[in-house]
Structures are given as C-alpha cells and as structure tokens.
Symmetry: D2
Subunit: 332 residues, 4 copies
C-alpha cells in the first residue's frame, strides 16, 4: 500500500550523509577506497579512516573502523537541518517507543542513533566539521572521481513497514516495485533531498546494507573507475554493471571492497521536487525495472550484503524475488 507523503514531519531530515563500516585490514581498505574508488582521505588514525567525496565540504561521508571480528555495517547516517532537529527526533522516538541514544562522535555535531522498525541502524547528526571541497583540485582526481555520497540500499524482510516508518519522517516515494496487479511493495525508492533516492528498501533477508552509493561525474568516469579496478587486478570485484537501471535511470557500477562491503558508483539520477509528480510504479514482472540493458548481475549481487552488529536477520515476509540469477540467465 502506498504511504502518504508527510509535509510536516516531526523533525527535518535533509539528506543521506554518511556511513560507517568495520573492516578487517584497515590499510587494505584505505587503499581500496582511496585508489580504486577515488575517495579523499580526510584523516587516518590507528583504528579509523575517514573519507569524503571530491566535492564534499564535510569531514567524512565514509568511516572505516578496524575490527578483529567479522566485517559489518555499523551505522547508516542522515543529516538533520539544525541541532533542534536532534532534540525533536529524540522526543519523537521516545513518544513512539523507538530505541535511540545520543552519542559523541568526533567531527560531528549533536548525534543521535536509533534502530528503525525493521532493524536498520541509523545515525542522525546536525553538522560536521567543515573541510576543503576538493572539486577544483582536478589534478588530484583518481579513478571514478566520486563527488558525494548519495543514497543507501537496505535489504529488509518487511518493505511495507520500513516504507511507512520513513514516510512519517518526511521521506517521499519516487519509484517503487510492486507485485503485478497489487500494491504489495517489493522495493521502495525514497528521497528527502529532491532527487531520486536517499534511502531504498528491497525485499529479502534483512536488515542488511546492500550498498551505499556515490555519484560520479559521467559515463567516462564510471568506465575509468572500472578500468582502474581492472588495472589493480580487481575486475572480478565488480559484481554488477556497467548497466542502466530502469528504476532511477542510474548508470551503475557495483564494486566489492576487500571485506565484500559493496559500493555503487552511479550517474544520471533526476530531480524530484514537485509534489504533483506521482511516484513511478514498476511491476515486479517487468525486467526493465532492473535494467534497460546490461549483462546479468552476479549471484553475489543478489544474495550477499553486509549485516549490522548484533542485529538478527529475518526471512522476508514476501516470497522469494524473481530476480534470481537463473531468471536473468534466461533473458540472455
């Protein structure tokens, strides 16, 4: 069932902004995100590396923490507009019984973490230390020249519940997949910043972080990213793409990091601001929603994703998605 857009949410979320992961070999992961992806290292300590995109003026949009255990997704981060929004968020979560806590995070303003109704670990903050935008340091551009973090995709056992929750927070549906002839939601693309997506939920075993995405300038940068991965002998770590999603119209490339966390580099999403514009519906049976063209995604792309710490993974409420590798192979 389609949720209604909430124009006066309890607090003001402005954009997808940062993500943190745990990794087993900090040096290897730093090299990967810096040299193969092209992110800027803002700061590096013995157990943490902070990255940002080339045009970002915030201290970090990706944080890696060294772990001695299994590599996991840590927090998926969004920005709120002001410090007051953090207070309002805390009050709102208290009022509806959402688990949350204030935390101190270096280089961040007031920060609040919560676990959403489908188990995703989310962190809100209202500001970050301001650093130099590198967008005109063209001589330092590498690989895909990623500009900024854009969105997150979460695999969840209950797309409807997740979608309803984020709509009460002001997220708005831009596109969605539903079982043919029904409103049974299989995937929802939701936004707060005025383009296609800040947060995506798709049906499956969850909660798991399927990927986080950075924009790249154009198709040339995307192909150069693939070429650089190839030059480092990492061509096999591209587990989908290049191809063109029907949903969101993104030209995409998905790459796995040394711990198999997945980053998407993409381009060409569109503006989505005007309220009269309805979300775009795609039937689950329509293969164009997945891609207008592109070789089949790997099985890894369909079945692997990053779990959150101490968060049990639940089986999806809906039957297995038809997006199996086998189905794809039939198409080609």
């Amino acid at each position: 069932m389609l949720p209604k857009t909430q124009l006066n949410p309890p607090f003001n979320i402005t954009r997808a902004s940062h993500v943190s992961l745990t990794v087993t070999d900090l040096g290897a992961s730093r090299d990967f995100y810096r040299d193969v992806i092209g992110l800027v290292v803002t700061e590096e300590t013995a157990d943490t590396v902070y990255f940002r995109g080339l045009e970002e003026s915030v201290h970090h949009s990706l944080t890696l923490y060294k772990t001695d255990g299994a590599p996991l997704a840590d927090q998926v981060g969004f920005r709120v507009q002001t410090d007051d929004d953090i207070d309002r968020a805390a009050a709102y979560f208290a009022s509806i019984g959402i688990e949350h806590r204030r935390v101190d995070k270096p280089y961040q303003g007031p920060t609040l973490q919560f676990v959403d109704p489908v188990g995703t670990h989310i962190e809100l903050t209202s500001s970050m230390d301001v650093v130099e935008r590198k967008m005109q340091n063209y001589n330092e551009f590498k690989a895909g020249a990623p500009q900024r973090i854009d969105h997150f995709q979460i695999v969840t056992h209950d797309v409807q519940k997740a979608t309803d929750f984020y709509h009460t927070l002001g997220y708005r549906l831009s596109e969605y997949t539903a079982k043919d002839n029904t409103d049974e939601l299989w995937g929802t693309w939701m936004e707060v910043k005025g383009n296609t997506h800040d947060l995506v939920f798709t049906n499956g075993r969850g909660p798991r972080l399927h990927h986080f995405a950075y924009t790249v300038p154009d198709a040339s940068a995307l192909i150069h990213a693939a070429d650089v991965a190839g030059a480092y002998g990492l061509g096999h770590e591209i587990d989908r793409g290049p191809g063109r999603h029907g949903i969101s119209n993104a030209l995409f490339l998905y790459v796995r990091d040394p711990d198999q966390h997945r980053i998407e580099l993409f381009n060409t999403h569109y503006q989505f601001i005007d309220l009269e514009t309805p979300p775009i519906r795609w039937d689950v049976s329509n293969p164009k929603r997945a891609q207008l063209w592109g070789m089949p995604a790997s099985a890894r792309w369909f079945f692997e994703a990053s779990e959150f710490a101490d968060q049990p993974v639940e089986e999806p409420l809906l039957a297995a998605t038809p997006d199996t590798l086998e189905q794809y192979l039939q198409l080609h």
Copy 2:
C-alpha cells in the same frame, strides 16, 4: 554586506522552474531550441511554443511567445511547494508593498506574478500539468540533451538590494564576489533547491535577464551541443565557452538564440544543503572566479542581455566591473 539565511521564510519557494520570452520568429526559435539545444517541444500553437528538458515531468520550463515588437524577457519563474504558498506569498507581498497580481496561466496551477525590488519580473506557481519524462527515450536525445532548467542570472543595478530581498524569501548564498577587502557585493549566487544556484545577480545595467541555464549530462554532451551548433552554421552564436567557471565550478557553454536571448548549457555544479557550510567568497580582482580556464568571453557576453517589458533599465550603483573584454585580453 552578507545577508543572514532565513530558515523560516514567509512562504516556501522550492526551485527555479520556468522562463518565458518573446520572440520575433516563432518557427525559427522553435527550431533553435528543439534542434540546436535539444529541448522537447511539449506543445505548439499559433503564437506559443512550450518546451521542457528531457527529464522534466512538468509541461514546460521554457515558453516562447510570438511578438511583433522587440524580443524581450517576459517572466522568470519559480515553484512554490503548495497552493497555500501562493496565498502566503500574496499576503506577504501585500504586507511589504511589493507589486503583484494573480494570473491564469495554461497548464499551471495558481500563479502569482510580482516585480522584485530591483525590477525583475518574477512568476510563482505551485504546480503544472504532469507529462512524460523523456529521460529514458535515449533514441530521441539531440544536441546537448538538456535535462532540466536549473537557474537564472539577472544583471542588476543593485546587487545588495536584490540579495537582501531574496534572503528574506529563504534563498541562501552559496558563492559571491565582493570588492577586495570589503563586503561590497558585486555578484551573488543564491539557491533554494540544495545546489549551487537558482538565482544569480551580477552588477551592471539592469534589470536584464543575462541567461537561463539548463543542465546537460556531461562534458561530452556539452561538446556535442557545440558541434551541433557548428553543423547548423551557428558556431558564431556561442558567445562564451567552453570553459570552467571558478564560481560554481560549472563547465559552461553560452549560446544566443535567433533573437539573441542567451541560454547556458552547463554541468558539474555541486550539492549545497548543510547549514554549517559558509558561502565561498571570491575577490573581484581574482580572475579565477570568472574562469579557471577558457578563452576570453566575447564583448557580447559582457554587455548584452534581455530587457523586461516596460521595465526601465538603471545604471549600476557600483563602478564598471573589471570584467571588461580588454582586461581579459591582457590575460591571454
């Protein structure tokens, strides 16, 4: 002097959205915007042509009206979020003595026109008829493949006054030029939609519409637009570019239409959402603000712009800008 960002404006403007011009030969202008620029013709009547960008789902972002007089800028348009915002705008303008009127415009929801304190003719509307996004009709792409309207640049005799007014409406300064060692504003780049600019004012004889701008996908599309202009024998109608602005980081190409209205095709502006990010200041004496590279702009680019109907043009309060052709030539 830098204005303060207003977080709770009297009504909610969401984005630069549409522009209308008068033209002397409707067929010639239609051909130009459709074939040389690549816009989509949504509808055409005996005296009007409506265009939109390839990803736009609104009925029009550019409207051309046939005139028997001199070609002029008609209205510069912005979207407000809801119909209520139109009412709030009318009430606000009445309260501060701004000339305004409600008008009926085909394919638009409630619409309000006003004349801003520096004489610019502005039109607000809260909705438009929804039409098909052409963004996946790649087989219909032409020339620069313009995606959507993005911003307007107005030449004004009083940049400070214009800037102050739009800040009370919630516009926020992303970049500006100021006389060295002072806060005397020479140019202001202001936004409402979360990236570099929706509305720009620069110092000079005004009010005049210097240009309206559409985004193109990438450098390849921008070069292809220039090549298509060349193929039509219109290479000389490019009056600036390709080049890279320091301000806004845009890769730009400026083209004159058959009546010498100016359209900018550009790429690569950046996200500007977080409140802690200060605007970028550029001293008027710094040539990099104008361009990091690029051959000198033509004299036409500096001195020609489209006037508004029945709106007297005033001499600038500040002394002549150093951006003269002569100054540029000295640099090359």
Copy 3:
C-alpha cells in the same frame, strides 16, 4: 608457431573495408543498423541496403541483401591499394591454387573474391564510389555514432593455418593467445592498416563470422549506443559488454541484429606500425586476455556466429576453449 612478418607481399592490402550479409527482413535490419547502431544509409533498393560509417567517404562498408533462406555471412571485404593489386592478387592465387573469381559489384572498382585456406569468403576491391563524409554533420549523429568499419573476427577450426596464410599476404601479428608454455595458437589478431587489428581468427567451429566491428568515438558514445538499444527494447540483444578486453585494449559492446548477426562497437585500440614492436602474447589460462573487467559474456556470445553460404563448418583441431560460460561464472 609464430609466422614471420612479410614486408614484400605479392600484392598490397590496405585495410578491412566492407562486409555483406543476407537478412530475412530488409526493413527491420535497415532500421536496426540505422537507428540502433547509427550507421548512415547510402542507398536502398528493393533487395539491398548499403550503409557506411559517419566518417567514411566510401559508398558502403556494410551491405545487406534480402534472402528467402537462412541469414548468412556473404563476403568479408578488404581494400587493395590499386587496380594493379587486383591483377597481382589474381595471379598469386592462381599460382598457389586458391579458388578465386572476378566479379562486378556496383559502386566498386575491380573486385576479386576468393576462399581462404580455412574457408572464409573474402572479397578484395581497389576502389569505391566516393560519397560525402558525414563526420561534421553532428546534427545527424545517432546512437553509437559509428565512425568507420575496423575489423572482422572469424571463428576457424585451424588458427595456425589461417594465420600463416594471411602473413604471406602481409598481415602482421599484433597480439595472440597461445596454450600455456607452447606456441600453439588459439587466437591471432592481425593488422595491415597500422593499428591493432584488421582480421582476427579464434579457435572453434568454423569458418563462421563471429562479428564485424565499427569504431565509436568514445566511452560516452558506447554507453549511448547501449541506452538507445535499451530505449528500443533491445537491451537483451547486447550479448557481451560493456567491458574492456585485455587483448587489443578495446572497450567493447556486442549487439545482435534481427537475424542474430553480431556487430561490435568498440573504442581505444592503439597504433601498431613500428617493426621492432613484438606482438603481445597472452596465455590461454590468463583470464585478463578476455577482459580486464566486465560481467561474463553470454553463452550466445561464445557459441553463436554467422555461417558462410555453402561452406561446411569444421570442428576445431584444438580442444574446446576454456572460455566457457561456466568458467567465467566461476570467476564472478
């Protein structure tokens, strides 16, 4: 075993130049090559369509003939330098017992057809009618904007025999695959025009035309070609790519036409003129030779190709290539 480069061949072949195919639905195939690929239609009759690339000044580089039978590869064409070279070729073939005949072909100068030692049907001509280069008609560019024909790839049962024959004609080896630790040739890339390839032979059931290839300007054009195919609902007719071959360094996209003939659009091959430069060797066991990155090729790409009329297909002398779909899937 590597053949020796022949600097004084019996006649002078200058480049891969044209190919002819039979097709079952001439209109459908014309639309495909014109609209989905972007070739220029030079001329069209009731049973024939002639195409050329955007920069070509020759009458045709691709000819389609209507057939009521099965669609087949007709002739693979090369240019010789002068009319005398046609005479010299005829004399040479007579001297070594190669089946050949002079034919009259519209829009072509003196033309000689022969069947090479592995059964490939080859046509030589010394000139063609000169037509307008469309390379500056940027307003007419479509899809991949293919510039010119570049090379052919033939599947053969005997790579060594084919390679030896063409070396006596002056072709030169730029790259090759060989069984590890041996000189057993599995694939040979040979050129006459000073870059990577005019003619490629790979091991398998042959003779069959695996593909003919046109260059496109850049990665953006290649992606646009894929997008246009997708827009026409033909995304599934891409049976490999985009990806980057190790061999030849080509960025590639393979598309099947309505009769399942295969065209490659590609970019980025390199100059190969100086005699001191040795060919590049790739072990068959090295997966990078096939691609530095890219999702696995489809089974169709590996096993399907166009047969020649009345030409029996022979089983390869060498054991089945490890380039099976299964092997690729293991890598991803």
Copy 4:
C-alpha cells in the same frame, strides 16, 4: 598547385614519431609535461628528459634538452620502416643536394638528420628501444591521458615548396587551404600513416615549429586536461580552444609549456587511406576551415612559434594571412 601523390617514394617514411626541444628549466618542463599534460617519463638525466605517450612502446616521442640559451625547436622526427630506408634516404638526399648527416642518438636505431628545402630540421630513424605500453595502467593516467604523438605543424614562408618536397617523399595531401578561385596553397595537411596528418605547413614567418600534437582519448580527457591546467593555475597557458577545427575535424586544445613551446591535445581525426579519396579543399575566406565553433584564438596562437637553432626565419612569400585576431574578433 596540387602535387601528385607519389606511390613509390625513394624510401619509406611511416609516421610522425618524435620531437626534441631545448628548455631553460628542465625540472619545470618535466613537471609540466608529466603533470599538466600527462606524458610518461621514460628516463631522466641531468640534462635530458625523455617522454612517451601512454600507449607508445617506443622509448621516447618527446625529448627535452637543458639549454643555457634561448629555448628552441631542435628536431622534428619521423620513422622510416627499416634500416635500409635510412641508407636510401641518405643516398636520395645526396643525389638532390639536401644537407644531411648521420648521428648517433641514444635509444634510437640508425638516425639521419636533414634540413628540408624550407629550413625545417628533420630527423629520421628506423627503430627505437622498446618499452612497456602503459595503456592498461589506467591507475597511472593523468591529465589529458595523451596516447601517442600524431603530427607536427610548421610555419613556413613557402607552403608550395614544402608541400612539393614532401610529396616526392610519399606524403599525401588530405586537406588544404588555398586562396579563393586559385590553387595558391596557404596551408597543407599531409599524411603517411593513413589518417589526416603527420605534417602540416601553414603560411607565415618560417621555419618555425608551431606545435606538436598528441592524441587524447576523447572530449572528456581534453576537458580534464584543461581542468588540470586550471588546477595548477595555468589556465592562461591555453592559447586556443577547446574548439573544433573544420580542417581535420579535430577537437583541439593548445597549451604553452614553461618556455612557450606549444603542444596540441586533440581528438577525432579520421582515416585517410583509399587513393580515390580527393583532398578536401577549403577557401582561405571560409572561416569554418579554422573552426566550426570555438572562441577566437589568441594573438599568441597566431603569431608565436618556436624557431630552430641557427636557422634564419624568412618572411612569407604570400601576403599576411587573414587569420588575424582582429578578423576573428569581428566574427564574435
């Protein structure tokens, strides 16, 4: 008057291959060509730096020598096919009274220098030391990612004499400019390697090396080169472009090095092999020959070029070219 193409020249020249320059600050020039242009440093000594393009397997295509005097063009280099061609060249020059001498050059095979009839200093060699092609080291690509040297442009006082001479050596005219309604040659584009140009002569004070040119992969690389120049504060050293030449169809960017030698980065020239294709004629009065689009070239581009050591510069036999800055400015 148009020269006749010579199919059996006295020796076999295969391509434009290398250039040497003297520079006043070797470190500054090395940094420029490596970081701003993106060439690969093959080797560096106390007084010499050798560079090559990313796809070149030869030891050097650009050599810089430290000078304590004025910076000059040293030698413009071409490759011949075999060592025997060097002997044949020496014999031929002796027979027609051309000044020439054999020299030993490190990393080069047999090498012969001569002064052509209009005073250009030319060097021929038959081989070079083979080094690694860097074309798949995408992680090392910088700036314009120049692939290979392509051609030279020489300003000469006598275009006709220069053109006639090189035609006897087998060069072939692909395009030319001539005074309207005459065959008075003002500029000639000549090739040996099968595309638009290896050697260009234009009318003016000469002999002077106007520029040497490297190909770049595409428009994106060309724009990135300009952006990198801008990032290094060298935007003003672009003295022409980006723009599109009518002649040769090149997308071009001209950059001055620290000693004001000029390098062109360009893209999109076309294949020119078939003998039936006539050269393209451009009237001197046709501004499209110079550019289909692009802002006016600077005065520096028109009037400055690198002289050769001890070689007097002569005034042009033809009246001053109409390509003056003033003429261009009138067009814009």
